[in-house]
């Protein structure tokens, strides 16, 4: 592993790769900073550019965008009370009051410092945990992979939605989309209606771009143009005393964030919200939270960066993405002909270690680059959405077209853009659909393979210990929300009874 890391270090310092890394960091800053463009969308938009690059440069670009956009969402959250990315929603609670008190520069400094620390801690855990998990997963066979995919899907469905029924409808729909085309096992055409285009299946890139980017543009176009204000702030990085004051909060929130990130289905946004409420609970003066204190900025900012790195662990070690953005990264790997999973450390070791070292540097460079970036940021914000919106649409179209040079795919993207728009209006979570589409082929082929291994005996999933544990975890993730709801129901009923009695 040490040689791998040193090799990754060497790869990163090839001038071209270093240039790409810095470009990725700046793009992540810009995209995260502008409300209406999230990190997920930016990674999607830049997929077409990355097709033509060699894998090392492509993944340095995509992962550094992913890592830094999580931070820069906090800039407009603090200064304008508009989170630039969903991950920065919790930063508004204390960041904006600090800016109102005239401490905007201090809040930005705290955000830079805690994001970088959280991100670096997350990357360190990522570097050490991923190879361990991958070597453990080397013993997995078809039943384990099926159980793993099933667990990922159920956890995403039950946790990301807050509504079990909608979550599982999404998963089933996504998995179904993945079955369209030639069946990989028997070669039977499925649901093609005689169309040659459908024969080769629905590629998941158009589905992703439609669901996440086109649906968002269809929403943004209906909104009033945002006002841009000219606010001059001087970013101040925290001094030693302040660092000491927030170090406990940063440590706890980072650990919580990493843990949440590793779990499939809940990502950086939830991590930020949870760690904010946990920080308030742990604090000696919980009432001060929300009035503009540095701890309230440090907690969500360190947690969301840590969680973003934690979410990379299952992707790189098991090939199972835990969030929407990591699902897109999985798609990018497949486009480059690389199958993420336990074997990747052996077949693509140098690429993986370069990505890991690149993430470490991206997070460290937040400390250096963020300050000068913020001073030019207000100029970038002045570019109106009437210019940015059409460009996003253009990138989506090119990105979709370039995968297979197919105009049919552009149509697929439009259809899913409309589907995504209406589903999101009806509060359907989109992440389960995406994970269904991405994991569909894995889940089905591993299921069929297990059935062949066991001569059509379903008990193969329950007699192998690892697959049994994974399936039990899947079951728990379904039952937990139901049990919790029932207990809450009983609690309120009980309370109601006692008030009537009194």
């Amino acid at each position: 592993m040490i040689e791998g890391l040193i090799g990754g270090f060497g790869n990163l310092f090839v001038p071209f790769n270093l240039l790409i890394l810095i470009a990725g960091i700046l793009l992540g800053f810009i995209g995260g900073g502008i409300p209406g463009i999230s990190g997920t969308m930016l990674v999607i938009i830049l997929l077409p550019v990355s097709y033509a690059m060699d894998p090392t440069a492509a993944f340095l670009l995509l992962t550094s965008i992913y890592a830094t956009s999580v931070f820069s969402g906090s800039i407009s959250a603090i200064l304008f009370r508009t989170p630039g990315t969903p991950e920065a929603v919790a930063t508004v609670f204390d960041g904006y009051p600090m800016a109102q008190k005239g401490e905007g520069g201090k809040a930005l400094g705290v955000s830079i410092f805690s994001s970088a620390t959280g991100g670096v801690l997350g990357t360190i855990v990522l570097i050490f945990l991923t190879p361990l998990l991958a070597s453990f997963a080397l013993s997995f066979a078809a039943p384990e992979y099926f159980a793993l995919a099933l667990m990922g899907l159920t956890v995403v469905a039950s946790l990301s939605a807050g509504n079990l029924v909608k979550g599982f409808i999404g998963v089933a729909f996504g998995l179904f989309i993945a079955t369209i085309g030639l069946d990989s096992m028997t070669g039977t055409p499925r649901f093609t209606f005689g169309s040659g285009q459908l024969m080769s299946g629905i590629d998941f890139i158009p589905v992703l771009i439609g669901l996440f980017a086109i649906s968002e543009v269809l929403r943004q176009v209906q909104k009033r143009a945002r006002k841009t204000s000219n606010q001059k702030v001087r970013t101040e990085l925290p001094d030693l005393g302040l660092m000491k004051r927030i170090s406990g909060v940063i440590g706890r929130s980072s650990l919580l964030g990493i843990f949440i990130g590793i779990l499939p289905g809940i990502g950086a946004t939830t991590a930020a919200m949870l760690s904010y409420s946990e920080a308030a609970r742990w604090s000696k003066n919980p009432k001060e939270f929300g009035t503009g204190i540095p701890e309230g900025v440090a907690a969500p900012e360190s947690a969301n960066n840590a969680a973003a790195m934690g979410a990379m662990v299952p992707l790189l070690s098991l090939g199972i993405p835990g969030s929407a953005t990591t699902a897109i990264l999985l798609g990018a790997f497949i486009l480059h002909g690389i199958q993420p999973g336990p074997l990747m450390f052996q077949t693509q070791g140098s690429l993986v270690y370069t990505i890991l070292i690149g993430l470490l540097f991206a997070n460290l460079l937040i400390l250096l680059i963020a300050k000068p970036f913020i001073s030019v940021f207000s100029k970038i914000l002045r570019v109106p959405y009437a210019i940015i919106g059409p460009l996003i649409v253009l990138f989506c179209i090119i990105g979709t077209f370039a995968v297979r040079n197919s105009i049919f795919d552009v149509g697929v993207m439009l259809v899913f853009g409309v589907i995504g728009y209406f589903l999101e209006n009806a509060k359907f979570p989109l992440a389960p659909i995406v994970l269904g589409v991405v994991l569909g082929p894995i889940a089905e082929s591993q299921f069929v393979r297990s059935m062949q291994m066991s001569n059509n005996d379903l008990s193969i999933f329950f007699t192998r210990p690892i697959s049994l544990v994974l399936l039990l975890l899947a079951l728990i993730s379904v039952l937990y929300p139901l049990v919790k709801k029932w207990i809450n129901h009983r609690k309120t009923k009980h309370k109601g009874d006692s008030t009537i009695a009194s």
Partner: protein, 168 residues
């Protein structure tokens, strides 16, 4: 609520249709699991859950417990109302027309006009700015993709094809 009901009805129709379709897939493997088994199972799950969702929309009372995620979203959407609902249809219409024309008009002309129209739909301050965006974006895309990265962009037919040969 009405939207949720409509969506669940569409989903019931969708899953019922494809359940029938998957059951019609011939299983020539002789094994328990044929090509239609997996999609059929998925469509049964989706059908059952969509019916549950539909029933729920009729039973639901006004009180709703919001999850942390939803609360966060509400905060993000605050003073962010959708004030131009018509623009949704303009944008969608433009996208559909663009996609249909792409094969006939070719990338350059189609995109230039499309980006210009889009910037008008998005409410650009002055039309000249939109035109400039269209020209620059098209030029940038052509230089980056067909010229530098060798992506075979659609050329269109007849005169458009000849025109595109000037550039890529």
């Amino acid at each position: 609520m009405l939207l949720e009901r409509t969506i669940s009805i569409i989903m019931i129709a969708f899953s019922a249709l494809f359940l029938v379709q998957s059951l019609q897939l011939e299983n020539r493997t002789g094994g328990l699991v044929g090509p239609g088994t997996w999609p059929a199972a998925l469509m049964i799950l989706m059908l059952v859950l969509s019916i549950v969702l539909l029933v729920k929309t009729f039973l639901k009372k006004g009180v709703q417990v919001k999850t942390a995620n939803e609360e966060a979203e509400d905060l993000a959407n605050e003073d962010d109302q959708l004030v131009y609902p018509k623009r949704f249809f303009y944008l969608l219409g433009a996208l559909i027309i663009y996609t249909l024309l792409l094969d006939y008009v070719g990338f350059i002309v189609d995109t230039l006009v499309f980006i210009f129209v889009l910037s008008l739909i998005f409410g650009v301050k002055h039309w000249s700015r939109g035109l400039l965006t269209g020209i620059l974006a098209t030029a940038g895309a052509v230089v980056l993709f067909p010229i530098l990265l060798n992506t075979p962009f659609p050329r269109g037919v007849g005169i458009f094809s000849t025109f595109s040969l000037l550039f890529y």
